[in-house]
Symmetry: C2
Subunit: 356 residues, 2 copies
């Protein structure tokens, strides 16, 4: 936890420019979109020379009034550059190197969630030393502890967002349900497990960058570190059915031992994000896999379904919601379109069943 | 592959001392046991001052005539020290540091499969430089590629050893079945996925030390690199039900996409190895989980059961074998006690069903 706290740049007065050069759209730039959604007070501008003059709101659907600019010259008061994408593989796009170096030379700190660490790059680290700025590699970690399955509080309710693919909104579902529970007076913590969640929440663990033998242990440590709260909303990663990321997904699921899961999916998504030749397995099969695998570690069930309906109309979304409710006999909602109340109620119901 | 080839010390004339100080028994020193079993021609002695004067065969059940010695002084002709244990967490036991340093000072190379790399230790690396010896960290890797699910040969049969726990013999089952298939004239490759397998086979990938986002990809690369063979016997890791290691297990299972699995278990084992307070889930449940999860990626089934009957009598083993055959209607054998023929035949049967 200390490690990741130190690496995400929290506690500093951040006046940020979010870099999304050539990729300012909600899914490709999901880090940018979510940081702007939940930390808009810290974001001065988005940097994308191909979209300069427009606003974040127009292209990302969040960040009303936040301008898209062509150059760091346009935002002289900024003190931090945040890398706003998280591509598969996590490498730094070559054309962005010049922008990162320019930010460093201007005395700006740089926050990155990429697998390729800025601080391990000789050119970046030399420039940072020269200009006395900090490079925050949010994914950097030194997790080396295996799961132990000891000291787990039975009276802390662990809710985990799972899903049928990566990039379907598991993080925002966990955040919105946590906020809803907090509004209802529950002592609830959003537990971040990925770079964007950590940038938003200020702590957490980047489980997808942990050495595989220690993923379960890193997830368990997140539980141990936060179980003083009554309810944990634990961000999910990838999918048990994802060809690339299923190892991360299962280690996290087993390490955090949820009593309840919220299943997240995007309406109309048929193929894996970034692998358009790979069909996604039927949703029933993936839901069964989630329950089968969770129950190998701890009694667990899916208590609700979060639909991401961004690509369909309001009417289509409502139809889909009814269809899914009837089929699964579970609460179903799009946390942005319908609010998260139904999922909040499902968590409260599970809590009343399991804990006193 | 190059990386791991370079890291395992293959191709060098190795005259080895295997270090098991204070831990010379078959499970705790499973690396030692397996290296001696399959590379006995390269092993001059086992180093354990608490057991000096006995032989490897007496304590490990393998290595007839290989002496256990108290000091490197007793084996002046040795040129390599091999660390013979793989503890959970993979750290170097403190009392072994002196022995490792002494070996380096004597001009011996050191081969280690621990998570804590010898080459990253300032004292070891300085000593190695001074005495011009090589430190082979078998687990060291720089895997950074996600799985792609492209270019997979349909006519290469991929068989994967899975199991109900770690340390039940998945590696030896894969090796013995591969040897059996080779004897029957099949172009078969044992694909190593852990440090001991790599030390024996001379190539492979230490998947449990790969960053979790890239485990599936690393396993897939092993398939791509070896699918010129007709049959691959791919070593398994951990268990889908293991609290510590399930992330590794699933990433490997999904990355290597087996058409057939051999399920390995130890007769009488009721609790997870190294976690004696954690009961192992019922075998049926774990077998179902293996098939459920494998089929999310590629059509797959369990084609045979490998029992490890080392703790029971020959009569008990035969009774168990009959019981399991009747229950699962699958071939069942202990590859050491009964030979691997039944499993070899099961692989041949699957090959004839799937490939021409």
């Amino acid at each position: 936890m200390n490690q990741t706290n130190a690496n995400q740049g929290g506690g500093i007065d951040r006046r940020m420019v979010v870099l999304t050069e050539g990729a300012t759209e909600p899914v490709g730039a999901k880090t940018a979109t979510s940081v702007i959604r939940y930390r808009s007070d810290e974001v001065l501008a988005v940097l994308d020379s191909t979209q300069a003059g427009r606003t974040a709101d127009e292209l990302l659907g969040v960040g009303k009034g936040i301008p898209i600019v062509a150059s760091l010259d346009d935002v002289p008061q900024a003190n931090t550059l945040l890398i706003g994408i998280a591509p598969s593989g996590g490498r730094i796009p070559a054309p962005w190197r010049a922008v990162i170096l320019e930010a460093i030379r201007r005395g700006m700190n740089v926050v990155s969630g990429l697998h390729e660490f800025l601080s391990s790059d000789p050119e970046f680290s030399a420039a940072a030393a020269e200009h006395q700025v900090q490079l925050f590699d949010v994914r950097k970690n030194n997790e080396r502890d295996c799961a132990q399955r000891q000291g787990i509080r039975e009276d802390c309710l662990r809710i985990h967002a799972v899903g049928h693919d990566c990039c379907v909104g598991k993080m925002v579902v966990a955040i919105e349900v946590a906020k809803g529970l907090q509004r209802r007076g529950h002592d609830t913590k959003f537990v971040a497990t990925g770079q964007t969640g950590i940038m938003i929440e200020g702590d957490g663990c980047p489980v997808d960058c942990v050495v595989s033998d220690f993923v379960n242990g890193a997830a368990e440590k997140l539980v141990l570190a936060n179980q003083q709260h009554d309810i944990l909303l634990i961000e999910g990663q990838g999918s048990l059915a994802h060809p690339k990321y299923s190892a991360v997904t299962l280690g996290l699921l087993h390490g955090c031992m949820p009593q309840g899961m919220i299943f997240c999916y995007e309406v109309g998504r048929t193929h894996h994000h970034g692998m358009e030749y790979m069909p996604i397995a039927p949703m029933d099969q993936i839901m069964r896999a989630c329950e089968t695998m969770a129950n190998l570690m701890y009694p667990s069930k899916i208590i609700g379904i979060a639909m991401n309906s961004r690509r369909v109309s309001a009417t289509e979304a409502d139809d889909e919601r009814r269809r899914m409710r009837d089929k699964y006999e579970l609460p179903v909602c799009d946390v942005f379109r319908h609010g998260a109340d139904d999922l909040v109620a499902a968590v409260e119901k599970l809590k009343s069943e399991l804990i006193r």
